[in-house]
């Protein structure tokens, strides 16, 4: 399948591809040396490569602990200045560059290095080739009556030809769907060049603590367009985004006793799903959307149950005196990972979706909040180390863990739908905010600002929802 999409590449000779160290995110370069980007052309390539090396080293705040690569080879893609140079065109270029860089499948050069000017009708392929560019994105963003029309071309630089031309309708930049429409262009480019599905059209839900209450909010994965999902004026917490994207389920005190409710992900009236005496909490919706794993205390202490949402039947999975909670489904829906303090201290366990074959997965210190990767091969969780919480991942079939964070308290990991990123809450900046990082702990990015934000849940791909 992947090969089909890569047809334009054919059998490329390895020799023309520049060494990766010649490439640096233009974003990092700009932030370190803003005056340099326009003068890139004046620089000889060898100094540029050295510069790139040093910038890369300083831009990386936390050491990457490579477990193994999910993305084999990054593609060098440049995003030319989009024409005409209006605000909408610049926003489109910025979002495309962010999304492609974030996807981990590209080295992105954003903007035009200066020497590369089209002399004829097409781009100056040979000049772009000097920069090691494999693909070049060019285009125009023109106003229409109802918004903008983005005509985006993708060029294969070594073959010196355009391989894709598409036109996208964008709403007015002030409209709610403007950025999401651009994220869709990013996903189309990612699909075109890698055959993979991008995650630029995702959001992150979370709980916001204000004056003793909590409400559920959501935000685009890049930190734009924060909006409120619930307005229940009570404690609503631990949201979980349904795999079809339509609903967010959470625990709320709206009836006085903590119950499980679900609300439309875009905001709207919350409906009760599970309202037993005692706690109804820690919802985790199964990948097929038909079942809900949750924690109830109606039978004495915290145990894990599975609710068949359609038939309303309830099945109890755990039977012991410990606190069993925080269930998370494996991507095929056959297993559930959870936390239990049955041994005295909270630890990570897994079991079949029917409750059989319980086994302990992690054997470190106190551990909480496991989350099974959508790729199925790893489980992220939180472990207390030296009095602070850190995010750890382990192979789903057991084995040694890899610590991904080191600053502040870091909690509640939630995987992106492609399994390449993890959202989490962290107090590294003082208050608790939502951050994302790569699967190996690299590229930590702050998503919310201001503190009081906890319990992230990464949405599935939302498309035009």
């Amino acid at each position: 399948m992947m090969a089909d999409f890569r047809v334009p590449l054919l059998a490329e000779p390895a020799t023309w591809v520049f060494p990766r160290l010649g490439w640096v995110s233009s974003r990092a370069l700009k932030s370190a040396h803003p005056e340099l980007t326009s003068k890139l052309a004046a620089l000889a390539l060898v100094p540029l490569m050295l510069l790139a090396l040093s910038v890369d080293a300083t831009a990386q705040q936390e050491v990457r602990l490579g477990i193994r690569g999910y993305v084999d080879e990054k593609i060098n893609v440049a995003i030319d200045e989009l024409m005409p140079q209006n605000a909408a065109a610049r926003t489109v270029a910025e979002i495309l560059a962010f999304d492609l860089d974030y996807s981990l499948r590209f080295n992105v050069l954003e903007g035009n290095p200066g020497v590369v000017r089209a002399s004829g009708p097409g781009p100056d392929y040979e000049s772009w080739a000097i920069f090691g560019t494999q693909y070049l994105v060019t285009g125009t963003v023109s106003p229409t009556g109802a918004g903008y029309s983005a005509e985006i071309d993708i060029h294969h630089i070594p073959f010196q030809r355009s391989i894709s031309q598409r036109t996208y309708a964008l709403p007015d930049p002030g409209a709610a769907g403007f950025r999401m429409a651009i994220h869709e262009i990013s996903n189309a480019i990612i699909r075109e060049l890698t055959g993979e599905e991008g995650i630029a059209d995702t959001r992150i839900g979370f709980a916001s603590r204000r004056r003793g209450d909590k409400e559920i909010y959501a935000i685009d994965y890049d930190g734009a367009n924060q909006y409120r999902v619930t307005s229940l004026d009570t404690i609503s917490m631990t949201p979980d985004w349904s795999r079809d994207g339509a609903r967010i389920c959470f625990t709320t005190f709206v009836s006085g006793d903590p119950d499980l409710y679900c609300a439309p992900a875009g905001g709207g009236r919350a409906q009760p799903i599970s309202t037993n005496p005692g706690l109804d909490m820690a919802p985790s919706i199964s990948p097929d959307g038909r079942r809900l794993a949750l924690t109830l205390t109606k039978d004495g202490n915290a145990e894990i149950y599975v609710l068949d949402v359609g038939g309303r039947s309830l099945r109890r999975l755990t039977y012991n005196l410990g606190i069993d909670t925080a269930p998370s489904w494996s991507p095929n829906g056959r297993q559930i990972v959870f936390e239990s303090d049955r041994g005295g201290v909270a630890q990570i366990f897994a079991m079949d979706a029917e409750g059989a074959n319980v086994r302990q997965l992690a054997f470190g210190g106190e551990a909480h909040s496991p989350a099974w990767s959508p790729q199925g091969d790893r489980i992220a969780y939180v472990e207390r180390m030296g009095g602070r919480f850190q995010i750890v991942t382990i192979p789903a079939d057991g084995g040694g863990g890899t610590v991904l964070t080191s600053t502040g308290d870091n909690e509640d990991p939630s995987w992106s739908p492609d399994g390449l990123h993890i959202a989490f809450s962290s107090t590294r900046g003082g208050g608790s905010d939502i951050y994302t990082m790569d699967w190996d702990g690299g590229n930590i990015r702050q998503v919310t600002r201001g503190g009081g934000y906890v319990s992230p849940t990464w949405s599935p791909k939302l498309g035009s929802q």
């Binding site: 009570t234 917490m237 625990t251 903590p258 915290a302 606190i323 909480h368 509640d412």
Partner: protein, 178 residues
């Protein structure tokens, strides 16, 4: 519409619950009723004084009972077993509850901010259950007590140190009837 009304009711109930919980030095509003009644008209001033004194004593006794019933108990980190000081506090509570059998309470379990939201909610419930079970052992009718956990969501003391945490690992006792 119904949901909205329920929300308001819940918020009001919570606010009242918190107000009662925070102001244990003052008699609850229900106690104002007997006090507000005019003294009975009688020719024997001594009898009237005695009646007033008895009434006042009853009011004070009830006030004292409210006070001891609302005394919080505290827990060690990540524990829900009752410490010796908590047992003594609960024994005093049990006496007051036996003395005033009309009083009903809600036991609210809380946790400090360390630990995850979900785990702390379960831990708070365990703490509320531990107090309830001990009061039942001491002869208090289980129908007179409900439990709820707020986990780490409603700290009594703000702060990110042991002084605050030790005050936040607690059970609160809210009088909901009587």
């Amino acid at each position: 519409m119904l949901g909205r009304r329920l929300t308001l009711l819940t918020v009001t109930a919570l606010a009242l619950g918190l107000a009662v919980g925070c102001s244990r030095k003052q008699p609850p509003a229900t106690d104002d009723r007997p006090r507000a009644e005019p003294p009975p008209a009688t020719e024997n001033a001594g009898d009237a004084d005695a009646a007033r004194r008895a009434e006042e004593e009853a009011r004070l006794a009830r006030e004292a009972a409210y006070g001891s019933i609302q005394d919080m108990i505290f827990f060690d980190f990540d524990r829900s077993d009752l410490r010796e000081d908590a047992r003594q506090t609960l024994q005093t509570k049990a006496e007051a509850l036996r003395q005033f059998p009309d009083i009903r309470i809600r036991i609210e379990g809380h946790a400090d901010e360390r630990g995850t939201v979900e785990y702390n909610l379960a831990l708070g419930e365990r703490r509320a259950d531990a107090a309830r079970a001990y009061l039942i052992d001491l002869g208090i009718d289980s129908d007179r007590m409900t439990t709820i956990s707020y986990g780490e969501e409603r700290p009594a003391v703000d702060g990110h140190n042991e002084a605050a945490w030790s005050q936040n690992r607690r059970d609160e006792f809210v009088i909901i009837g009587g």
